[in-house]
């Protein structure tokens, strides 16, 4: 018998970032993470995703934790495992475009505090919005991974993905991630897409998906058979539903095949045992809603993320217009087309969704356009894959100036100004970046931190509830 070529698939563990962000509102604390870090470090994961995304905001805002301190503690514990963060291109982890000097400084500090792999994406797949972060990561000797926001639509042909993959390779990125935040990638399409990307570039391919529509584990199987190098999974207590496929399950599924991960189920099981009470507690308290654990095939029918569907419904309920749900669902793809067919991911999903609701409720399309729709139409988020509808541009922003350059080209360096604004709170360099991203939330946290230290006024600093009544 001919020797079967072994090609172990690598596993990136997401339980410390995407899994708890997807299932329990990003509420896992550093204290909950640290006791299990040593065991996780001995598994042999390709990487552990543990920072960035919504964790930064949630740490400061809800947990009253310094995210930088969390990163240093995780780095201290993970002696043999690469740490990965999620980074939203020129938005970093915030909600606007930042100047290049802030982006560069954030990358530098992330790597200095312990990040190995920076996964960088943009909601429009406008690679100009990725360039600054990628170059900074390369300069700091980090691993720069570019994540393509996966979506469906006329513009998103295999040629499109192959072309963008080549441009990413040329940019100097070290790997490519297919980021399927909505769980739209079905198994047969995964085969085609992975094969196409492997033929277009020599970069390792990582596949990231969510179980929302129910096909995720099959999609991983097909992707790996087609040559995918890395898959993102979450330990079973926080897997499936709107999170990733379960780590142990994928390990067992590939066991004794050419793609055998080599990871030890017994060791993984001890880690699962650690997280199981956290799952059960979250179910009991309601933090983990069993609804997000089910399958939502409507995401495949309407090709929109599950979260967007529930947002639309709740917007309509607020207006007493639930009967318009189907009409709005039909309006969403039309608005998306008018807006140049962007992927539907934060923030484009909210912009398209809200505009679709307005178009239906007003009884006239684009009678009212939101501030964000106007900004998108002016080009302020970057370039969309297809041209926008000129009639819609005209109706929404009239003759206002539109930009075609990289949005950040119009933003002057701002680090010095930001540092000057917040200098009274600064205890470490990184505080400047916390403030840059979330000024109000960061200041609240700085005040809380100070109160904790002095403990001068226990009536003001309510440490038990981790709430500081400012």
């Amino acid at each position: 018998m001919s020797e079967v070529v072994k090609k172990p698939v690598k596993i990136t563990e997401t339980i410390l970032r995407d899994a708890h962000q997807s299932l329990i509102a990003t509420r896992m604390t550093t204290e909950q993470m640290l006791p299990i870090v040593d065991k996780m470090d001995k598994i042999g994961y390709h990487a552990v995703e543990c920072w960035g995304g919504a964790t930064f905001d949630a740490s400061l805002r809800f947990l009253k934790e310094d995210p930088w301190e969390r990163l240093r503690k995780l780095r201290d514990g993970f002696k043999n495992t690469k740490l990965q963060m999620l980074f939203r291109g020129q938005n970093i982890l915030g909600y606007r475009h930042y100047a290049d000097d802030v982006v560069e400084y954030f990358v530098q500090k992330s790597i200095a505090n312990g990040i190995d792999i920076i996964r960088i994406f943009d909601c429009l797949n406008d690679i100009r919005n990725l360039e600054c972060a990628v170059k900074a990561a390369v300069k700091e000797k980090g691993h720069a991974q570019v994540a393509l926001s996966y979506t469906l639509g006329e513009a998103y042909t295999l040629d499109y993905w192959m072309d963008i993959a080549k441009r990413i390779e040329d940019m100097g990125a070290h790997s490519i991630c297919i980021k399927d935040m909505a769980g739209l990638l079905v198994p047969a399409k995964a085969t085609e897409l992975v094969q196409a990307l492997k033929s277009a570039t020599s970069l390792p391919i990582d596949l990231h998906t969510h179980y929302t529509s129910g096909v995720a584990s099959m999609t991983y199987m097909k992707a790996v058979e087609a040559g995918c190098d890395i898959i993102d999974t979450a330990m079973s207590p926080l897997a499936m539903g709107t999170s990733q496929p379960a780590t142990e399950v994928m390990v067992e599924a590939f066991k004794d095949t050419p793609y055998d991960t080599g990871l030890d189920l017994n060791k993984l099981s001890e880690i699962a045992d650690y997280f199981t009470p956290i799952r059960e507690e979250a179910l009991k308290s309601g933090l983990l809603n069993p609804k997000v654990l089910g399958v939502n095939v409507k995401t495949l029918m309407y090709q929109v993320p599950g979260g967007m569907l529930s947002n639309l419904l709740s917007q309509l309920k607020d207006q007493g217009a639930e009967d318009k749900y189907r009409e709005v669902l039909e309006e969403v793809p039309r608005v998306r087309k008018d807006f140049g067919e962007p992927p539907l991911v934060t923030p484009s999903s909210q912009i398209v969704g809200t505009q679709a609701v307005l178009n239906v409720l007003m009884g006239e399309r684009y009678k009212v356009a939101t501030k964000e729709s106007k900004a998108l139409l002016r080009g302020e988020y970057g370039q969309t894959v297809k041209p926008m509808n000129p009639d819609v541009i005209k109706k929404c922003i009239g003759d206002e100036k539109r930009i075609t350059c990289r949005p950040a080209d119009l933003i002057e360096n701002e680090l010095d100004k930001i540092e000057a604004e917040m200098s009274q709170w600064k205890e470490q360099d990184e505080d400047v970046l916390s403030y840059a991203l979330f000024p109000q939330v960061a200041v609240d946290f700085f005040k809380y931190r100070e109160a904790q230290k002095s403990k001068v006024d226990p009536a003001v600093a309510d440490t038990d509830n981790k709430a500081y009544p400012v």
Copy 2:
């Protein structure tokens, strides 16, 4: 390009039987089923499993419904779709071996009342226990499907499965089901097993599994690629966890492949919308415990069904001996070996599990043997795949007589006797069979039925709670 050969996979829908049995304690009522039957009938399912298994007992015992009446109503609604039931060989739907005349009469009445496909299995895969039911189904012009209880172990080689498949074909069965009640069949093994069965017989192969260990959808994918003809799925509101993979998900996963089911996602979605409130209500009331919706990879580690693991733990808790859990888990495969390596499915899973607990707690193996262990050792359940341990036989039953014949050969025809016993309650022929299987429960139901009709004493017949205080 060469034409791809189309081979649509067929779908057996389980939401009216296994799905609610697995997730909500078999509590779906006929009233909950009937409004959606017409839509389900138009889907194009290969079959709808809707009767047998635990539904018969649960209808009589908890729902105070006549199971035969349910079957007739379903038959009335499903004008174009085959109806399937699950039938436990010589146990029928009950907990002991019955005489052949009862088995034959039950098969006859099941088919007369509307069943098309009878899925027949035995917990030891002793095909002598299947023969009577298979022959009766063939005689009544029903479709006789034999289900092999899938398990792992030394004895269960591909040769074993191929040999038993041939014997089933020779017996006159019309199709074979691989019944993986514990979710032990991993994708790569499904490929091997299905290929082996397809090479051994020309019968259609149906795969039935549960999502318990998390691999089920991938296992279906691999099985179908290997030639599996039919897969069992459940509509998404009662899918996954300890139930089957979701129907809509598998339909989408195979879409635009050679295995495309051709089923319409939009129509399926309307059915899902009907069952979603039933799921939500069950979550709210606690009938559906979110625990059974998660992944339990321990079933793969210990190769025992998930339900057995929780039973063992609760038996130990009752004895204040939770610390012995691991020891018991290690004793289970040893007891199983002593007992001839049976599959672990009702009732063999309970027999092996309870004996393992006793062996550990007593501090001496087989110091005490349960009544059921002794019966198994005497051959009263049938023949095991491997010989039993002679030392264990000696220690447990000494020189008591063991049987090697088909257990039912020792049971005289009993239908007349049973009918005589219950004649005062008989309103339809089928009542005799209800009484044969569950004498006490059936009598309680007959009394309830009578009280409902006369409504003479509302204080005794509490119709709202469907409880009759006898």
